[in-house]
Structures are given as C-alpha cells and as structure tokens.
C-alpha cells in the first residue's frame, strides 16, 4: 500500500478538480424553484454555467453580481442588492442561494450582513435566502457541494414533530442515479425526503413550453421538516462532519444518522439495503432480490475477463471509493485511486479495503492528471474510470476510459449515466468489462503473437505475464 499524500510539485498540471462555488451550485439546483447568484465577477458564473450546461445539456441559469474594479475597492454591496432585485423580479424564485467567489472573499464581503439588511429593507421575510461562503481557493467542488447542501438544510430546517419519513441525502451523482434511488425507495414503500433532488431540474423531459425555472427539486417544506424524520441516510462516508448536513440534523435535532457509501457495487448496495430495511422495517422486495441475482450473474459471466483489468480510478472522493470497491469485488484491481480534493477520510477508508486484498494501490490525494498519468503507466493500468478529463490518459497512454462522474463534456448523456443500485452496477460493470474486451480485441492478434511466439514459449507457461500485475 503506497500512499502519496500531497503532490510533490507546486504546479498543477491538468487539474482533477474544480473550484468550490462550482460544486455549490448543484445542491441549489436540487431545491424546487431555486435560483443561485454568485457574488463576485461575472466570469466565474459564466465559466461554471458553461461547464454544467455542457454536462447536463440543460440551460443553467446562474446569476452574478457582476462586480467590477470599482466594486473591488468600494465593496460589492450595491451590485449584490441590485442583482437580487433583478433576479427576484425576473424569475420570482422560491428560494435564493448566494455563493461567494474568490473575489468576494478576498475583499472580505460580509454576505451574511448584506443579506439580512436586504431582507429587512425589502420585507422579504418569507423568501429564504441561503448564503454559502465558497471561495474558489477554499476547497474543491466536492467541498462546495457539501457545504452548500449543509447550509441549505441548516437554513431551512425547523423543529418538526416526529413523522414517519426518512431523510435521504445524496452526493453529487447523476440525475439517473437519483431517479434509481427513488425507484428503489418506492419499491420498498418507504416514505422519504430526498435532498438535493436535481433528477428533474438538471435532466428535464422535453416539453415544448419552456420554463425558466424547471419543475422538480426537493420541496422547501420537506427540507424544513427534515428534523422530524425517523432517521437520515446520508450517502457520504468521505465527508467531513463540518460539511455534513446529516451530522447537522443529528446534532441539532437528534435525527439518527447513517452514513453509507454510494450504492454502486454489490457490497455497497447490500449495505444500503440493509440500512434501509433495518430503519424502516420494510423488507427487500422480490423484484430487487432478482436484480441482485442478475448482478451476481453478470459478475460471474464477466469474471474471466475482469481479472485482467488493472484500473485507475479518479474523481470526487465519494465516487472513487464506491467505484474502487466495485472494481475490487470483480477482480479489476485498482492500481491507482486519485482525487483532486484533499480528503483524509477517503485515504483511510480505501486503505482498509485494499489491505483486505493485500494489494498495491497508489492513492493520490490533492492530485492532478500528470501525477495520475505517471503513476498509471508505471503501475501498468489498462482501464481508467472517471470523468472526461481522463481522456488525457487515453490520448497520451492509450488507456481506455469509461466515463463516469462529472464532468462528461466530450460525450453526450452524462446526466443519464446510471451506476447505482443492483441495476446500475450491472450496467456499469458491463461497460467496464466491454471496454476491457474491446481493447483486448483491438490488440488481440499482435499481443497473442508477441506473447506466445515472439518472446519464446516459456514466458506464457510460467504464467508470468498474466500474473505479473499481482505482485507489483
């Protein structure tokens, strides 16, 4: 088990992460009738909208207070207020999120105060305005996502009498994943509040009438009632307590918290089901048991191909953990697992898993693609799993990429990639196995020739070639 803690260089060459406010936008998109305004110069909002739009293929309306040089000297209060006025007039949102950027934080804007002044002046007591300090240098988009999620929950939650619903808090997964989780919960007859629910808002069905703020999202009233829930199941085992909406609900309102990994992979999904059945007393429906059986069947069908896989996995910590586990169950042993975030928990959790298998895995935290590439080649990775920026591994090193996570900007359908649940895992695993197969067939003849005839006969008999990876 080798662990490279921090990147050894100063330069970040081809980053593996984005900045904090970018992630902060997403949970707001998962609340009904919400709008976001970034406090800072307009460029950040524009860049982020373009990236989110490209992944989801949806218009992403995010406003900006459009600070300019004058604002940096005299403060941005005027722009912020004007921005809110315009946003409210044009969009009539049901809730507004204000995220800061590097600029606002560097000049030390007190957004809390500006916001409460604004509310009082405008007598907007019923319009929730949630502020989130998200300087780009304060963390990656992952931390931005969780901080915004936590601020939304802590801003809206109200003391509520106990009710029978459970809270489901989801990390940055795809709209298709969220829909699948809701389907599973429905199958089990569980009453739930899922937050943030961007399954419709960021993947809306075509309908000719255009709506500026799309339908869907978790209802504000439901978020407010989260403190009354019987339990919170939070899909987020790598997050810090400070950023954890589930932990907040537990500490402030005593809602029991169950942190679970993304239910991708058989074991992770079993765990998810276990937790759900235990808390709710619902039983595992037959249809889901059959889906589990089909996943197992898929794993068995593919095991003879998968064991040749040596994977490099990268992206947001939560995803890296779930995918690494999925790969391990299937013998596609990870040789490199990397994230651009600084996340101590991921390293700990993964180390524990990896140690079970007595394998060598290079763990890279706070990494960039140059470091990932170098480690992947030296470890002989032959399949990459992660977002589109990993295409660099394909272009430079010929390592094929299974696109998963965010952003997927060089292919369509990022919003539709399904990889949770027994069904989603089956679909993901087939993609991975087929990518291995495709690559194998592509090089089949030449590599067979090399292996059996060119290098002499002994090599393959000793088994060295196929197993060389396991010693590394």
């Amino acid at each position: 088990m080798k662990r490279d803690k921090a990147n050894y260089r100063n330069v970040n060459e081809n980053p593996c992460n984005m900045c904090m406010p970018m992630g902060g936008i997403l949970p707001f998109k998962g609340v009904e009738q919400s709008m976001v305004i970034l406090h800072g110069s307009q460029g950040c909002a524009t860049y982020m909208r373009r990236h989110i739009a490209e992944h989801f293929n949806e218009p992403i309306d995010v406003a900006s207070s459009a600070l300019n040089e004058k604002g940096t000297v005299y403060g941005g209060e005027k722009n912020r207020k004007q921005g809110l006025d315009n946003l409210i007039k044009l969009y009539s949102p049901g809730i507004i999120g204000i995220l800061t950027t590097c600029l606002a934080e560097t000049i030390g804007e007190d957004i809390g105060r500006i916001t409460s002044d604004y509310r009082n002046e405008h007598e907007l007591h019923r319009l929730p305005i949630i502020t989130v300090p998200t300087p780009g240098y304060g963390g990656s988009h992952t931390e931005g996502y969780w901080l915004a999620a936590k601020q939304i929950v802590s801003g809206l939650a109200r003391q509520t009498p106990r009710h029978s619903k459970i809270n489901i808090i989801v990390p940055h997964i795809s709209p298709a994943d969220i829909r699948e989780i809701k389907r599973i919960l429905d199958r089990m007859d569980i009453d739930f509040t899922l937050f943030p629910d961007f399954s419709d808002t960021l993947d809306r069905p075509f309908s000719k009438t255009y709506k500026k703020i799309p339908n869907g999202g978790t209802r504000i009233a439901d978020i407010a009632a989260m403190p009354g829930a019987a339990a919170t199941v939070q899909i987020g085992i790598t997050i810090d307590d400070d950023l954890s909406p589930g932990r907040f609900l537990e500490r402030e309102f005593g809602v029991p918290l169950y942190n679970v990994p993304i239910p991708t992979g058989l074991e992770n999904m079993d765990l998810f089901m276990n937790v759900l059945t235990e808390i709710t007393g619902s039983c595992m429906p037959l249809s889901l048991e059959q889906e589990r059986g089909r996943l197992l069947d898929c794993m068995i069908d593919s095991h003879k191909y998968n064991f040749e896989g040596r994977s490099v996995i990268f992206g947001e910590p939560e995803l890296v953990y779930a995918v690494a586990k999925t790969c391990m169950e299937n013998g596609i042993f990870p040789v490199v697992a990397a994230t651009g975030s600084k996340n101590a928990k991921l390293a700990e959790l993964l180390t524990a898993e990896i140690d079970k298998y007595e394998r060598q895995v290079v763990l890279l935290m706070d990494s960039d693609f140059d470091q990932i590439r170098q480690n992947s080649t030296s470890a002989g990775a032959n399949i990459a799993i992660g977002h589109s920026d990993g295409r660099y591994l394909t272009e430079r090193e010929g390592i094929p990429l299974v696109r998963l996570g965010f952003p997927i900007h060089d292919r369509v359908g990022g919003q539709r990639v399904l990889s949770v649940g027994y069904l989603g895992t089956t679909m993901l695993l087939d993609r991975v196995t087929n990518t291995l197969l495709e690559n194998k067939y592509k090089n089949y003849r030449s590599s067979m020739y090399e292996q059996f005839y060119h290098n002499g006969h002994e090599n393959n008999i000793s088994g060295k070639i196929l197993l060389s990876g396991t010693e590394g």
Binding site: R9, N10, V11, N12, E13, N14, P15, N17, M18, C19, M22, I37, G40, S41, Q42, G43, C44, T46, Y47, M48, R49, R50, H51, A53, E58, P59, D61, V62, S64, S65, A66, L67, N68, E69, K70, T72, Q82, G83, L84, D85, N86, K89, L90, T101, C102, L103, T106, I107, P135, G136, Y137, G138, F206, K208, Y210, K212, G340, D389, Y392, E395
Partner: protein, 536 residues
Amino acid sequence: MAVNEKDIDSILEAYPAKVKRNRKKHIVIKDSSLAHQEIEANTRTIPGIITNRGCAYAGCKGVVLGPIKDIVHITHGPVGCGYYSWLTRRNKAKTLEDGKNYLAYCVTTDMQETDIVFGGEKKLAKVIDEVVEIFKPNGVTVSATCPIGLIGDDINAIAKAAQEKHGIPVMAFSCEGYKGVSQSAGHHIANNGVLEWMVGKGEMTEAPAKYSINMLGEYNIGGDSWEIERFLKEIGYHIIAVATGDGSYENLKNTHVADLNLVQCHRSINYIAEMLEIKYGTPWLKVNFIGVEATVKSLRDMAIYFGDPELIQKTEDVIAREVARVEPILNQYKKICEGKTAFCFVGGSRGHHYQKLFADLGIDTVLAGYEFAHRDDYEGRQVIPDIKPDADSKNIPELHVESDKKLFKLKISPEKAEELKKKIPLSNYEGMNAEMKDGYLIVDDLNHFETERFVELLKPDIFASGIKDKFIPQKMGIPSKQIHSYDYSGPYAGFNGAVKFAEDVTAMFTTPTWNFMTPPWKYKPMLEGTVEEEGN
C-alpha cells in the same frame, strides 16, 4: 417579420424600470431611413441578469493567448479559472517537429488559502521554474485571475526575474476578471502584451517572400484557419503568422515584416492591427472568410491591395474553380434552407460574419448581436472618436506605440492608401449594422430572459449561439448551432467550410427527431376499428 418598438417594450416590461431603460439602449431595430442608429455597447453588465459574457481573464488567456502553441500558459490563481478555460475553445494546432505544442495542457498555480493570505509570488516563481524544466517551451505567459490583483502579487517582477533566469520570454498579463466589463478588456490586455513582447523579436528585417501577410483574429476553431490557408497559399500568399490560431511564438515574433495584415475578428485583435500600422507601417484589411460570397470578396480585396495582375488572375482562377466546385453542392442544401430565419448571437465578430454564411444558404438573420463588442463593431469605426471612455475602459492600459526606428517600413504610400480605401476596407471596418436588413433586430449583450422572449416573438428556424444559451431554444424545439465551438464540427470557414456548415445545418433541419414532438394520441386516435353491432 419586421418588429416594432411596441413588441420590444412588451418584452422589456418585465424588468425593473432602471433595467428597462438600460436594456432599451442596447436594442436597435434596423431602419435605414435614419441617418445613423446608435447602440449602447461595452458598458457594465447588469447584476443579476443572466448574461453570456465572460471576464477579462477569459478574453486574455482563453481567447488570445491560449492558442499560441509553443508557449506554456500559466494561470496564476485558484484552480477554477484555469480549469474552466482548459481547451474549451476547441482551437486546433498541428504539432511540428520540435514537438512544442502545449495546447492540451492546463497549468495553474492552484492557489490555496494560505497563498491568498501570504501572497502567491513565491509559488508562482517556483511554478515557472518547474514549467520551464518540464516542457522546455519557447516562452511562458502568466495570466492573473481575480484574487491576484487584490492581494497585490507583483507578477511583472516575477516574470522579469524568471525571464533573466531562464533566457526565454516570460510574459505577465494583469487580466484579472474584474477588469473592464467583459472578455473585451482581456483582448486588449493580451494585444498589448503580444505586441510588446512577441512582435518584432524575430530576426527578420524584411518579408521573406512576395505577398507576405499575417492573419489576425483567426483562432482556428475546428480547423478554420487551415482551410483559409489552403487557398491563400495556392493563390500565392506567404503567411508569416496567424494570431493566434495554430499560432506560435516562433512565427509571431516576425509579424512585423508582413506587407499586409488581415483582420478576421475585429473585436479581439484590432488593437494589434492598429499598433502594427503605427509601429511598422503595415496597413490592415478587414476580411471575412465565413461564407462563399464573403470569402470571394475578401480574396478580391486582397488582390486589389497588391494590385499585381498576375496575382489578380490567380485569385480569379482559384475563385472560379472553388465556386464551381462548391456551388452545386450548396445549391442542394439551399433547397432545404431557403426562406428560413436565424438568430445569430456570438461574441465579437461572428455575430456579423455568420450572417453571410446563412445568406449563402438563403437563410435570413432576423436577430443578431454581440456578447462583448464595442459600438464600432456595430456602427463602424468612424464612431470611435465619439465613444466616451468611461471608468471601466480607462482601467485598461493603452499601449503607447511609436514607429520603430529600425523596422518601420511604409508598405504603401499614403496616397495609394487613400485611393485604396475608396475601394476596399483598408484599415477600416464598417460594422454589422450596415448589412442588416430593415426591421430586423440588433441586440447587444443578449441575456437568457430576452433570448427566451425574442425566440417566442420571432420564432426563428435556427438559433446560432453558444453552449450556455443553446439549450433554451433547443428546449423550445428550435435547433441550435454553436458558433463558438461548432458542436465539435468544422471547419466552417472558406469554401470547404461553407459546405460543411450547410451539411450540418441542413441535417439539423431535416432530422426526423422534430417529427415526434407531439405524441400521436394528441392528434389522431391510435386505434382504428369498427364496432360490430351484435345481432346483425
């Protein structure tokens, strides 16, 4: 199709009164009976309105510097800005034997909180050292993002020291995102730097060949400049440098010896064009290689400039051959496109240029505009003296240039220039408005709200813009073409590009997908049958 003031008012009604007054000045209904129509442009973006504009950094590093391939471009700042400008413009570049092509890299100092608090100068200096060691580039640029100016990092001093240490040009650009009102400020800052630190650094003192030219403001999106170079070279032009598509420091440093500068995108590059004229005596010609007719005109204008009968003949030969080749193909597509209408809203010059290509296909542009242009891009350069500098434009340093004592060479006499100006757009740009039809709309800094409402009002058949706004009309059932990145297609310039564009656009119109918008049960009964009455 003509729109009237009332239509516009009814849309702007939704704004608060002040915003309404502001936006109204950015919208013009073309009326050629008026002596002059003024439009407001290059003014501050309204907070809270969802604009498509970016920042100065995007204009500097993203647009102008980014495509220079043999230089490593460092983004000095937190990770986001660099990440978001990573390859997003789809500039193409060929790697030459020296292997120096760093376009696929995103290099950033990835500043952390401590760097913001204690300053990022040391980190920047180390990053430059590392970059020089890893890549061995022909040069390094450093582009500042918002926090840098605020914390006061002296990037110029760091760059200077690094340049001395490494013996290659290290150039610092203070293009913090809050400067100016849009990308436009960044273009200007980048132009200044390119002129100061790249142009004139080469060994050449005179043009290496007959008809030596530079192509300015061409960024080789989807391979555009390769198509343009194809026929320019065939006609006999020698291209010294392209600024900056598939461009390199190696070429840009000899920009000064050309006989003529072509200006494709006026907005992003006109500063260099002007300064090259003052400093080295090279005039510029406004060209447009988007659309067959526009390309033909540009080629003829170039030939007129040089005035050489042989060149003119060769130009006509190539035009005749190319037009004969592509026209029959385009005519096929035209059968489908003719009579349709388009919106064309792009950054600086494409909002104008693409109208020509649409026109080749019989498509009328009923609404056009620019994201970050200035009044001269709409009304023509004659209005420049009337544009009052404001607080935002004054923040961008004007580079004061004088004629270069050694390298200045008047390429044509002043008399000849005057005579040519009557025939061709020499050192002049007439702007978009002149070519719009009466009753059609010109909208500056179109935003999401207005996009939706204007689409409802005018119901165009195609919407040409960028990734951020394209999904609005698409959700309304109207095909959207990205004119920034071409939706991974291209080239769209020149003769071959026109064919490619026609093919792409026609495919968008004719895809069977649009037939399924309304489900069958909405317009016809699904099952047909007769009920047999019992007992018959």
